[in-house]
Symmetry: C2
Subunit: 441 residues, 2 copies
Amino acid sequence: MTSENCIFVRIFNNSLRNTTKISMKLVLAEVITIGDEILYGQITDTNTQWMGVELGKLGIKIIQKTSIGDSESEILRILSEAESRADIVLITGGLGPTKDDITKKTLCKYFDDELVINEDALEFITDFFTKRGRELTEINRLQAAIPSRSTYLANKTGTAPGMWFERNGKVFVSMPGVPHEMKYLMNNEVLPRLKTFFKTPVLYHKVIRTIGLGESFLAEKIADWEDNLPKNIKLAYLPSFGQVRLRLTGFGEDENILREQVEAESAKLIPQISKYVYSQEDEELEKALGKTLKAQGFTLSTAESCTGGYISHLITKIPGSSAYFMGSVVSYSNEAKINVLGVKPETLAEFGAVSEETVKQMAEGVRKVMKTDFGIATSGVAGPDGGTIEKPVGTIWIACASESKTVAMKLTLTQQRETNIIYGSVAALNLLRRMINKEIE
Amino acid sequence: MTSENCIFVRIFNNSLRNTTKISMKLVLAEVITIGDEILYGQITDTNTQWMGVELGKLGIKIIQKTSIGDSESEILRILSEAESRADIVLITGGLGPTKDDITKKTLCKYFDDELVINEDALEFITDFFTKRGRELTEINRLQAAIPSRSTYLANKTGTAPGMWFERNGKVFVSMPGVPHEMKYLMNNEVLPRLKTFFKTPVLYHKVIRTIGLGESFLAEKIADWEDNLPKNIKLAYLPSFGQVRLRLTGFGEDENILREQVEAESAKLIPQISKYVYSQEDEELEKALGKTLKAQGFTLSTAESCTGGYISHLITKIPGSSAYFMGSVVSYSNEAKINVLGVKPETLAEFGAVSEETVKQMAEGVRKVMKTDFGIATSGVAGPDGGTIEKPVGTIWIACASESKTVAMKLTLTQQRETNIIYGSVAALNLLRRMINKEIE
């Protein structure tokens, strides 16, 4: 085996502890985004992050991402540089109908080719405009023109077609920069073709989501299990906001065997950390909780002070949440706490709004008002103002009430308002999860 | 004037209609982000977008942004390429204490230099750990080491120092990749130094935020004014979610003169579009509205169905919002609409939850329950399910109630749940704005 065919890989994650010899050729990709609007900061590029994840799942490694402006000479330069380094060059942007957008012309120059109207593309575009009762202008018609030697990739979500080029065993793909159009083309045209073209290794991923235990404690807890993982299964820790996603990636040649292998390892892992696992399907906490609530026929309501409606927003952005979520009372004022939630004025007077007593009454109150099985509540000092010596910024009380009991917890968070809102919301959802799982008696 | 000193610039925005000769040398920058975690899609890079905007304000143009992994040879290559093209090379990432992070070592190699402990950095780091009651390990101490010929840039937000290098009239800066640390260094150390080092042109920006009129209609409405702008003042249209930000940029040599000039042009513009302007200080709608409410001594509450708490979240993420915001009722169920907001059961039975009648009663109800001057409400079909022929997905009613009247509006939005939630929330806030401004009688 030559060194070219056998590379020490640290694919997928820099927290992989060991590098392992994998007997397969690593496929390398570069991503080029074209457009002044990205350079000048008018838009944030979220495309390349998504592409990194999706390519990684196929075992394709991105070695460089480059953003450049709408300039022919710059595009030609970066294409040539990328071709010298990578097997795959993915290009997004610069495919609009306006004069600014010069990607297609430039690709023609790069490949010494010319634009010709592609009949399939023209049919789609004509249909696109007819259906919307708009006239097909010459400018729109020209969107159906692609370099003659490129393969047309049907973009069913917009008027700019995708294009696939091959040269000396390397692949170039040009796609629109609009995120949902790029994703459509990647999922339906590009990724399946890359898989076939490069005979990429078969990979199987499983993501286990945990909450309530930090990365290093988690790592310590599962060290023995991790050390005994088969060589072809790798573990990555992906932490964010009090949660850690554990990604198991198996690589080999047969998908069915891999799935069995990864699931078997996962089955050994889960019992060791079951208290912290909330999803084995890489779902957000609010989505996993929603499934549990629905399956068990439970309903939920929330009473939010310092989180200001964010918990409610998290829950309701999940489609179908109206099946188990009845509503929320955002009680920013003491009057709302008293009048809508039934918090006792003397409790507020004696203990204050940010207290165990108040937050418990809020959870119990919203449960009664909304007639739900569970009620969760938050009350705290989100900041930057409003802190005192006894209750500094970042002090947040959370509570969860059911028919039989109410539990509360105090959090000591950060100086950052937005961070406190997010952490407080996630912690309140986790308190509910633990109560449903009867971890809290 | 040589062609090098006089460049046809299309700075700041690709919607600038004309290119103009500016008699100043354009300062060019490149941004390099280092770290496998960006390439593999584990984190989204929001730094470079922010940097593009801030550098643009100084008249510095980014010509390329590149992300590469933690590899010495790759870092050396991209540094050399960037040096050949740009005047400024800004490098983020790879400054952590772990072995993965090799930026500092690599910079030494690039500049033929060696790491030495910087006394100021060491004092800061020692203090940082002492204050937190943690022991200073050798690994932490080494964070105070920087290349001997670089200038130490004090990072008061973390343990990785910034570094400033100069060579042949070009500048290199290395900063941590953590967003708030990078921003701290840019604002306090890097941008002021760049301004002095390159004697960048004086720029004056003013951003006017508008809502309720699309980009092309707005452009048509102000075409005469725009055509008559002085040659040194440029206009950019920055649209998003039903809003358009108009950015006026004046460039010249004297800040006071520029400010007067830009403000004078702005003063001519505003009366032509006053109905649509909500901020002349580039603030979010919820922040500008909060100021108005506070100044006029008004209070607000919200009743949200399809927006699920998102309006409340927008309002409460603004510090100090408790001064004018009393709370929200997220009434996802009909019971909550009836029991908490006082919507009449017969209204729900006759017209349904998504109707003018219901949304008006919700706005009036929350106003009474929360005892506020204004109440705003939303009720609609966010999707993806729940649509009917009469009320398809994207149908959203919004309402605003004051003591003297209640107004409602029907919106016809998209198929996308999250988009509908955002648009619906913004539209409801805008309805309140128009009511406070007495545009709706």
